[in-house]
Symmetry: C2
Subunit: 780 residues, 2 copies
């Protein structure tokens, strides 16, 4: 290789130069394209070398039994695993009989560029075959934001050393063999040959393969069609087998000319529709895509993204790498959520098979805030997915002896798939996370239609869970015992503050929403007595506090537990859960991820400033960040209590989680929640944005390394721009109605005129420390 | 059937009359014979009908992978399951070409008798074949207490209606097909064809089959030899296959004569010895048994049992069923523990495959008290087994990041086999249970040799665990957080009182024993600092107490939890763990089995009489007895606090657990701990016997239904007899040195003269209640 390998820093794209076989897994994730419905990892068109190829359809999974050494009542019997569906990205090339494979011959130049504005992945490779023949390949691919079922690849080959004989094979390949995976419990189990052929047909340049899964019985179809500039004398043929469709083009390409092909892909799946219907669906999508054409697909993609950046862009002056990382993050969160449309947004989006393709509470708590204020329709669709699973959640509650709805800890279709209940079913906070996300969306949009159709019911059924899950003690306090909060290093504890405060808001918001819509509330069976019980439980919610230490207890008794021996824990023993038994983690003061600190952000209204300072310092010293859901939250609260450098370090950690592969598992897909948390660290951290019950407030303050931070938001249809400099912040209304906002505690009305406010000096908080060896990288 | 079916009440045997196919599973367990090394379920000689045939060798198991839906650090990878080994009990009979099978034709008379004094199972069956031919079968079998490797069956057939043609087939059958089992998680997984043939040979009347297990690689051999009174003209042959050896005898038996056979069986197994060595071992044992002969085997069996009853018998006047049940219990506990010899005593003994054949804390806590005071050598051998697994337990502690030794929750060979850590590994009290059993044995025997070889090391390594598992809080209290006590309906809790009090004694006793044997202590690496830390931890052990309620908390915060909805729990929803999720059981006040109440028995020295009264009442109202380890303990404490009728009810429940099949699972084997608890309920309950640190005291008091309760005990080699009447108790020294004892708080010396003492009236304790529907059966 002639070139340095690695990512290049640039504001609007991510470029990788050079070929690094070791990095293929990782770059397939970072270069994945998705529209929330279809996801295609950034594997080379020629198929090999490869890391872990993957094409995913949101919601399309195979079922597998969950085994238990000792079974228990209510354990889910079946798990769900996202399936690598028919791969349409493959375009194999033979150069004068030599298959293009960069492991052989020489790639004299090789680069890939993920462009955040065009929404495409471009690739240029100059390759010399083992026998010395040279070609240049250009490809550009997209998964369309505007045509949900469509992806496309534009592919060109150019001879570099005279006339050349080329054979191109454009494939649809089902049941692609996948390399074996590690036995890390967090890595999804690989599935062998999950697809059973139902149908295969081809004519001209078009082919369709239809399959179904063995156990879950979901049906899918994948189709491809092509536009090719066929050179004179070229030969062309198409053929199908049950798991393969292949268009073959053989051509002699004269020096100075190029062999060009556009490959259009269409995907469809359904649990209900028949194979012929799905075939019709993908052939229709292909016809539409051909009619639209490559250039127009590109134009629409660009237009869609221009709109997105107009409402969502975050600008950072003074740290070019962070600027790139923040846009990378925004782009991938958009890809994960844009066109999910009543499907879940998985923890990895559609960028890899990690976590089996499951969605968690991450979506509501980390991803939806970003979408709510930038692409609110996508936030609404994600909540519609939760609503569509309410029947399953109510059945699960019944099975567990509870009222209302129990949403799954992890799932693809809404059924609980967690095989370890202390860190699964017991994490009941997921219900409140859904409710709080619903409240947030409603407050930020005033979407009355959604409230009537879905929102109120989500609030009511989640509130009903807390009413049965908790109880009053003899002092009249409302306790929620035996649950697991966000920190998975403490499980099955009493009165987790995060859970109790989120449940409190859930109960209150349900009661308020029922007052707002009494008719719909009655339809849902809510009477005044029930709403009164919710208000009472909320009012008397127990929040454990250690008066001796002057800090809240993450959960009852937490501060009495032994401290983890951080000094005796070598760096290679992180993440701790892979090196220490749960029992020892659970009974000691060690925090996997922000828990009380997350409560102080999301329920900041429940803490005094002094409590925030003391709690932040206490839990900062215990938090090891073995989860990617922590740094962004710590950034937010570090900024609030005045530790701007620390907040900056955490923002960088969140933003670079995948680009620097900080958790050594980006190969399984991106950490969508951490990427979304990057936005949160900017907007809620340095922007100090809070939205308690619809009161949008700001308390901006940027670290000394930055000269400017600006961001855009949509609130109740009004688009605003917030520009933060070291000493002043300027608020602008881009469009829409005036808004009541606040800046560092003083309210103002933002209308047509920009408002500039001075930024007070940061409060002087006492220094904090992290567990031994776990301080974030200092960003100079 | 002409007869009533069922057990008959008699003081010295258990007789079952009639054939009841539905009861076969159960009676195979109650009629199982064992010497602690070999166990043979009470299956008919003819093989069918049958419930669940089983022949077990203590310690002989197959290994199987333990699957996890989500694996975790330190989870055991392999489980162990007791294997149904080569069945030597089969003697098939053809009566004039019709196979004897009681499901066909008619069994005009059928009975079986388990004789507690002869130690044999006798059977008499009169059978009329479908074609009307009649025979009488007598069989008697034993598993020898005196020849550990030997079992024998004496078998006779008598024609009842004239000359008859008989064919007898005496089998050794390996890999016997076993009926499928339920999917109750507590029922052991069945293993298909676990044995691989190594060797099969036969000559004359003798055959040997040798096998090994596929995965655990254990080797075994089974042999049979026969004595037969061959009638004139009889034909005889023996043959072998890899899984079958068969001696066939065909004879015409004239009316008035009998066909008689004695079948001698020998078993051996080893993880180390070769197949030829094992073959030699069983052939040697067979030769010895033939030399001894059936009559002498019978005589020695009787003699062994005469000795046992001489030191262990419990007499009850006024309740014949209870008298039988208590002797049944003593007999089976003896069978489980007599000749284990450095193997574990499994929870089911060798009477069935339940719990996979694993040993639990039951052994030390429930079984060893009985053996310690009646057959102390067996108690010693069981503790030697624990000692022999110390290396495994120390490795497990290392793996878990702890000092000392962590004994397994369940195991056959000493490796942890629990697949659910909150009710397995987290139940660290097993270490203290071993230590306290060691202390008890040492105090009751002054066995210096055992203390030096094993006892001190057991005390030291278990104490070392507590020193690392616990920590001091800021008030100087020593806490043990995140563990599971005996009550499996609360798990992973802080400061479980039972655990902390048992650990306290463990720490103290280890320090005292090190003082007693400073040389050996130094060899074990104990210095004065370490012993001082143990004493300090013991002294400051935290014991949570709810001052408002005036009761101890089973564990930290327990009394603040919600109460279980007992009124809303239908009877068919017990045991609760099969009908409710763990999370809900764990976070509510519902107790599976005596936990704090067990602490009040074993560590009665740590509670005031008033606390015992209050605690007993509080926990009585919460305890559902979903475990067979509860009633006997509740009997003991009910008696102590003055509820004699309730104690009597609980004694009966413990005693009749298996005979009345109260847990509906006796088919998987007997509840050895509950059987042993029957003795405890008599001796510690109505006898009020306590042994705190070697001070043996009594506080006898019997319920009004009984006119007399007497029991025998061995203390430091002295045999005593305690005879309790309604108003007086008489103590007698049968043999040995005088003893210092106490009667209701006043000490006395027991020497050659009987001592008679008056019994004070029972204290007047306030009434107690059980959870709705869970009161024990009132015994009138």
């Amino acid at each position: 290789m002639e070139e340095d390998k690695g990512y290049e820093i640039a504001p609007w794209h991510l470029r990788w130069r050079g070929l690094d076989l070791q990095a293929l897994h990782a770059t397939e994730s970072t270069f994945a394209l998705s529209n929330g419905h279809i996801g295609i990892r950034g594997t080379f068109e020629e198929g090999e070398p490869r890391g872990l190829p993957g094409t995913y359809l949101n919601g399309f999974y195979e079922q597998r039994p969950l085994p238990y050494a000792e079974a228990g009542y209510g354990y889910p019997e079946d798990g769900q695993t996202v399936v690598n569906v028919t791969d349409g990205s493959i375009i194999r090339l033979l150069v004068q009989d030599e298959p293009l494979d960069m492991r052989y011959g020489r790639a004299t130049h090789h680069e890939r560029v993920l462009d955040f504005r065009t929404g495409t992945l471009r690739r240029t490779t100059d390759w010399m075959s083992p026998t010395g023949r040279q070609v240049r390949i250009h490809s550009e691919r997209l998964v369309s934001f505007t045509s949900r079922a469509v992806a496309a690849i534009h592919y060109e080959v150019e001879p570099l050393d005279g006339d050349i004989e080329l054979v191109m094979q454009s494939d649809l390949l089902a049941n692609e063999p996948i390399p074996a995976r590690t036995d890390d419990p967090r890595v999804a189990a690989a599935l062998d040959n999950p697809l059973i052929s139902d149908f295969a047909a081809a004519h001209d340049f078009r082919a369709v393969l239809a399959h179904h899964t063995r156990t879950s019985g979901l049906r899918m179809a994948a189709g491809m069609d092509h536009e090719i500039d066929l050179p004179a004398g070229a030969r062309c043929g198409i053929e199908t087998e049950k798991d393969l469709a292949r268009l073959t083009v053989a051509a002699d390409v004269p020096s100075g000319q190029r062999l060009r092909m556009t490959k259009y892909l269409a995907y469809g799946w359904s649990a209900r529709r028949s194979t012929p219907a799905l075939r019709g669906q993908v052939e229709g999508a292909l016809a539409g895509a051909l009619e639209t054409g490559w250039d127009e697909l590109l134009r629409r993609q660009r237009e869609y993204l221009d709109d997105f950046w107009e409402t969502a862009d975050v600008e950072i002056d003074g740290d070019a790498e962070l600027q790139q990382a923040v846009r990378f993050a925004l782009f991938h969160v958009l890809q994960a959520g844009a066109r999910g449309e009543s499907r879940a947004i998985p923890a990895k989006g559609l960028t890899g098979p990690g976590y089996d393709g499951h969605a968690f509470w991450d979506t509501e708590t980390f991803v939806l805030p970003l979408l709510t204020y930038t692409v609110p329709d996508s936030a609404r669709d994600a909540l519609r997915w939760r609503h569509s699973t309410l029947d399953k959640a109510k059945n699960r509650a019944l099975q567990l002896g509870q009222g209302g709805a129990v949403f799954p800890w992890r799932s693809i279709d809404g059924d609980e798939c967690s095989g370890y209940w202390p860190a699964g079913t017991a994490a009941f906070h997921v219900g409140a996370d859904v409710a709080v996300a619903t409240s947030r969306y409603l407050a930020a949009t005033h979407d009355a239609e959604f409230e009537a159709e879905c929102g109120l019911e989500l609030l009511v059924e989640t509130a009903r869970l807390w009413a049965t899950l908790g109880h009053h003690n003899s002092r009249g306090e409302f306790r929620i015992d035996g649950v697991t909060g966000p920190d998975e290093y403490t499980a099955v504890a009493d009165n987790n503050v995060f859970t109790n405060l989120m449940a409190q808001k859930n109960l209150r918001d349900a009661a308020i929403a029922c007052e707002r819509r009494p008719g719909r509330a009655r339809e849902l069976g809510v009477d005044d007595e029930e709403a009164a019980r919710w208000r009472d439980a909320a009012e008397h919610m127990r929040i454990p506090y250690d008066a001796a230490l002057g800090v809240h207890q993450q959960s009852e008794g937490f501060t009495h537990h032994d401290e983890w021996d951080f000094e005796g824990t070598p760096p290679e023993h992180y993440p701790l859960l892979l090196h220490y038994p749960y029992f020892d983690l659970y009974r000691k003061q060690v925090v996997k991820q922000a828990d009380l600190v997350l409560a102080m952000y999301l329920r900041g209204d429940a803490f005094t400033p002094e409590q925030k300072v003391a709690n932040f310092a206490y839990y900062e010293a215990l938090t090891v960040r073995d989860s990617s859901l922590s740094a962004c939250v710590q950034a937010v609260m570090a900024a609030e209590v005045g530790h701007l450098q620390l907040a900056y370090d955490y923002l960088a950690e969140a933003a670079l989680t995948d680009l620097h592969d900080l958790h050594a598992n980006v190969e399984n897909g991106l950490h969508i929640a951490s990427l979304a948390g990057t936005w949160t660290a900017c907007v809620a951290g340095f922007g100090g944005m809070r939205d308690h019950d619809g009161d949008v407030t700001f308390a901006p303050r940027i670290p000394q390394q930055l000269t400017r931070l600006s961001f855009r938001m949509t609130v109740r249809g009004s688009k605003i721009h917030v520009d933060v400099r070291p000493r002043v912040a300027t608020y602008r209304l881009i469009s829409g109605e005036p808004l009541e906002l606040a800046h560092h505690g003083s309210t103002f009305t933002l209308d047509g005129s920009p408002v500039t406010k001075p930024i007070p000096a940061a409060p002087d908080s006492p220094a904090v420390r992290q567990p031994y060896g776990r301080a974030p990288v200092h960003r100079g």
